[in-house]
């Protein structure tokens, strides 16, 4: 039996994999193992999340202007930072820069949210803010790789590939990991690649960041020269021909698998366009994702596609907010830049969260939001810009297994360094895997003589995030 029906690998690769085609069965197994090893009660690790939607905000949104309210920063605006700046900075910065945006308490939890995100603020009781994230690289490329793969100086499998490897796919006709409009810079396909994991776990990209979401398609998904009927005839002829020459070839599972991939590809050719066609969605859904407004239409489309992929059983779905610049990278022009960026994503994100919740999908879908780093609370240039800051920034999670309506961890009074319950990127990964029912220390793959993990030799699960 092959639960992860999408692709097949050779026996040899199976052998090197710790789990092979274990698929969902492996998740159950790893629970028991994890429970035995860590002494955690099994029910604590009971998996609610079955899939991940990761919303990547390229460029590094500023935490102190969005989800990490710092009253002291507002008070000390213009004063010098009273403690040392990091040893390695991307660029020099000046004095403290208070946020140009107001914060007010939202939801029953009363968590302060910036006016940049009025719609997401309506969902704050479902959201767990991770205010104490920190990374190790102050440049976009290294930080993006770290966030996506856990490593900034080696090519390693991406988070989505690890999740696919650990859990397989729920859908026979679709890949287990798709990434919509990803960026080609700063890591490129390594950010959704499978590195040494078997190839079927790599993310399948739909379009790239320089294209509008309406043009986002899987490569080679269609043939503009043959009709479907002709292609059907071709595959029939191929099957006959293969059957004829089969007598000459040894019986190999690989050959049979190859024969099945043609049919799978053929089905995928009709399945993908069906999922990407949003015309069957109601007008109110279109509106709630902001598809009816120009500024929100593009990211709204990505989010709505993500929900449809989630429903169809895709395991890991990434959407990317990036234009042909570095989107959230406001070294200058912070007021205009962040206003525009937030406007583009705020309504679509809220639309997605509400839609998932209304359909009962939020319970078993883990939604993750964040950029490769945050920004400095100190000003850069003309006091309307902030530099990269990997020392302390905010990501957030919502849905499957996450306790919403809380701020987990904290930065210092100005929002520069992660201070309380610091969550390194490795910890974010460990926690994410845990929410998926995977123990980050046991999700390993033997390669080049040793067992590799997403979290390398680090990573700590933060149970405070869990519901």
């Amino acid at each position: 039996m092959i639960p992860s029906g999408f692709p097949l690998t050779r026996r040899q690769q199976l052998k090197s994999a710790a789990v092979g085609f274990g698929g969902l069965a492996f998740a159950a197994l790893s629970h028991q193992q994890a429970a035995a090893d860590t002494g955690m009660p099994l029910q604590h690790h009971a998996v609610q999340a079955k899939r991940v939607i990761f919303m990547f905000m390229k460029g590094g949104p500023s935490q102190v202007d969005t989800f990490d309210y710092k009253p002291q920063l507002q008070k000390d605006h213009g004063k010098p930072l009273p403690f040392e700046k990091p040893r390695i900075q991307f660029a020099p910065t000046n004095n403290l820069l208070g946020s140009p945006w107001r914060f007010r308490p939202r939801g029953e939890s009363g968590i302060p949210v910036s006016e940049l995100f009025p719609h997401v603020a309506e969902c704050i009781d479902d959201i767990c803010l991770l205010n104490s994230c920190h990374g190790t690289n102050a440049a976009h490329g290294g930080a993006a790789l770290k966030l996506h793969t856990g490593s900034d100086n080696f090519v390693r499998p991406s988070v989505g590939a690890w999740v696919s490897y650990g859990l397989g796919t729920e859908n026979q006709n679709l890949p287990s990991f798709v990434t919509i409009c990803p960026t080609l810079a700063h890591g490129g396909l390594n950010n959704w690649g499978s590195a040494f994991l078997p190839a079927q776990h790599q993310g399948i990209p739909l379009g790239v960041a320089s294209q509008p979401a309406t043009a986002a398609n899987v490569r080679y998904i269609s043939n503009d020269q043959y009709s479907t009927a002709t292609q059907r005839s071709q595959l029939d002829l191929l099957r006959q021909f293969n059957a004829g020459s089969e007598q000459q070839l040894p019986q190999e599972s690989d050959l049979e698998a190859r024969i099945r991939t043609w049919e799978l590809a053929f089905r995928m050719q009709s399945e993908m366009p069906r999922l990407q066609d949003l015309s069957s969605e109601s007008e109110s859904i279109h509106k709630s994702y902001g598809l009816d407004e120009e500024i929100t239409a593009d990211f709204g489309r990505q989010c709505l596609m993500a929900r449809r992929f989630a429903e169809a059983g895709v395991r890991f779905i990434q959407v990317t907010h990036s234009d042909t610049k570095v989107q959230w990278d406001q070294h200058g022009d912070l007021r205009n830049g962040h206003t525009k960026n937030a406007k583009e994503v705020d309504k679509p994100i809220a639309g997605l969260l509400k839609d998932l919740k209304q359909r009962g999908l939020l319970e078993d879908t883990l939604v993750v939001w964040g950029g490769e780093f945050g920004r400095t609370p100190t000003a850069q240039g003309t006091s309307d810009g902030r530099d990269h800051n990997p020392e302390g920034f905010t990501m957030w999670m919502a849905g499957g297994g996450v306790r919403g309506g809380q701020r987990y961890g904290a930065t210092d009074v100005y929002g520069y360094y992660a201070e309380q319950n610091p969550m390194h990127i490795h910890d974010v990964h460990a926690t994410l895997l845990h929410l998926m029912g995977l123990n980050h220390e046991q999700l390993t793959y033997r390669h080049a003589g040793r067992d590799f993990r997403l979290t390398d030799v680090a990573g700590k699960v933060h149970p405070g995030v869990f519901s």
Partner: protein, 813 residues
Amino acid sequence: MSLLRISPLACSSLLLLISPASAFCFGSADENSEARTKSAELWNAQVAPLLQEHCWSCHGEETQESDLRLDTVAGIARGGKAGPPVIPGKPSESLLLLTVKHADPTLKMPPEDKLSEEQITVLENWIAGGAQHPDGAIVISEPAPHFDIKEAREWWSFRPLQDPSAVLADDGSGIDQILNGLLQERGMTRNPVADKVTLLRRAHYSLTGIPPTPAELQAFLDDESPDALQTVIDRLLESQQYGERWGRHWLDVARYADSNGLDENIAHGNAWRYRNYVIQSFQHDRPFHQFLTEQLAGDLLVSSETEEKRKAELLIATGFLSLGPKVLAEGDERKLLLDIIDEQMDTIGRSMLGLTIGCARCHDHKFDPISQADYYAMSGIFQSTRTMESLARIAKWHENPIDTAQDRTAREQHQAKLDALQQTIDQTVKTASEKAGSQEPLADDKLPADVQETLKTLRQQHTELTDQLPQLPTAMGVAEADITPSRLLARGNHLAPGRVIPRSIPVVFDASRSFEVPEDRSGRLALARWITGNTNPLTPRVIVNRVWRWHFGRGIVSTTDNFGKLGEKPVSPELLDWLAVRFVQSGWSLKALHRLIMTSETWQSSAADHPRNEELDPENQYFWRWDLRRMEAEIIRDSILAVTGSLDATMGTSLLHVDNRKFLFDHTSKDTTNYDSQLRSVYLPVIRNNIYDAMALFDCTDGAVPNGNRGSSTVASQALFMMNSQLIINASRKHAELLLQQELSDQQRVELLIRRTLSRPARANEVQQLLSAIPQLEQQFQQESPVTEDSVLSAWTVLCQTLLMSNEFLYVR
């Protein structure tokens, strides 16, 4: 605790070869004692007073800051928290000198008043002379490694090569004898030798990656001599295609790429020179030990006698060390440099030695006998090597000039043309200005209209010529740098440097510490000589195993890049050593190795099923049959181009669409890569982070880490590519046109199609099968809307494509 005594004088490597077991070595007795005496005198006269004045107050009898005492022999030998301050005979690796020169920002001594140059020279001379002390020799004790050296050397891959030749034939049948023994013990038998048609395609696939043409097939079938296959092998080994096929294998191991990838994806505009060097090295069967030496230290093989072309080749070869992915925007320059060196060492370890040396960066290797000190001993060699031109963000790698007289002449001639043109322009202006009554040259717009017109043309020509001025060629590669002492970094943290580790190779390979690095050299050449020398059994074992893997799809050691504890053991150590010994005896000739392997019945055995063998050895570990395998990515594309008559068989240069050091992918996420070429795949740019999908889909390497054992996946996106990509459809159409142009019946066309695509004669039933599909396809195309212009061509295109999609085409048996 083992003792390491460092000789005050370098000793000749010849002496070492003769007596490798000796722990100590001496130069001539006279020279030696003279230097020692001088050094001891120096202590009394100058060193002791100097230390007394500047150092002993903190590092003397009363106080010993950082546990360091510099007034006694024992104190100097033991050293302080940062390790021994002095390594006799090696000033460049003595911490004392490093600190008094204030060369290390973390440790400057004396902290306030830096010693004068004269004072530093005193210390330098004293250490160079052997750091003699009137109370006796300074003997540096080296902490014992975390393993037992003798025991560690018993590991199978570290033991000397054993030649079991006495009982064996000295040709390919020696392989069969060894494996037959193993098969018999297990109650198995080898498959019989495959038929000629199969063997020909297999030989082509193995050696050139281009399938045999119908004519080559016919010639081989007609050749009934017993040497027919031998003849084919010889012919293929002489071809350029052989260099391209096997060069590509090495490029996998050399993690070759035309862009940096990682964080900043910048063009390796000159990497192709290394790629072509590799291809030519294979084609001309450059002795493999020489090939490796050139890649590690080609620059150090250049002498004043070396002719320019050869010099360029030697410099290009060192590109091997520079090709790795680098975190070019890393803000911490020291970390960047150490990361680059780590990548180099990891690559050398895996590609040449089958060892994961990189594992010992932060701690002693957990499984293999490589200590952290070993790591930093080797690291010192690369810290003393220049790989980078600048470490400032965005960092730049070093390139060596490789221009020849021809290049310079071409540039000079071009420059002369430019100068002449400039003169013409100046003269025209001058003449026209004088005519207009001005002594000074006038601006163009002040001159008559016809002169303006002439000048416009001339100036345009000048701009064009300037743009075309040939650049003198450079190549990625390394050079010697200032000797930098390597310090052991606690947990790999560059902010926590510890004792200085003299440059060396891992102690497990050199228990007597006979590896010598000249004081003023990085030690790369010595390292290369050791890696390819006869005291190291790993290198020949690793390469013959690689060659076996590239022929059979699985190595004798299945973990081709790891011969350590976590690797697999060889299924037949005898076979591995038998091959390795012969390989070394042949002068490290890869072509001789191919002949040896391919003339064995093992290589020639059929891929047929065998129920009993399958039960006993389902994985075919003992090579009882040929394993059916899917072609590799490059070979799929090359074969498609070849059989459809679309291949351009010439050698490529650079197909990059951007200049050297320019961004291939920047923040715009715009993909401007272009793979629209008919050249063989080895010449297509390898863009890290964005590998061409025709390659990536079929498991080519990512070009980021050495990989001698590609995977082979079977995924639906491959099917989409084969069904829908322009590459396949265009090639199929070209093939269809080619078939339709021939004056043949449809049946003959189908027969030819099968011969060309599958390199075998057609069978009657399949010809009928394909023939009968044509009318239906034609009809479908006629009904399609909009109606296809040429339904016959379209139908044949589908037919040609279908054969390219067949298992028989995609797999080699």
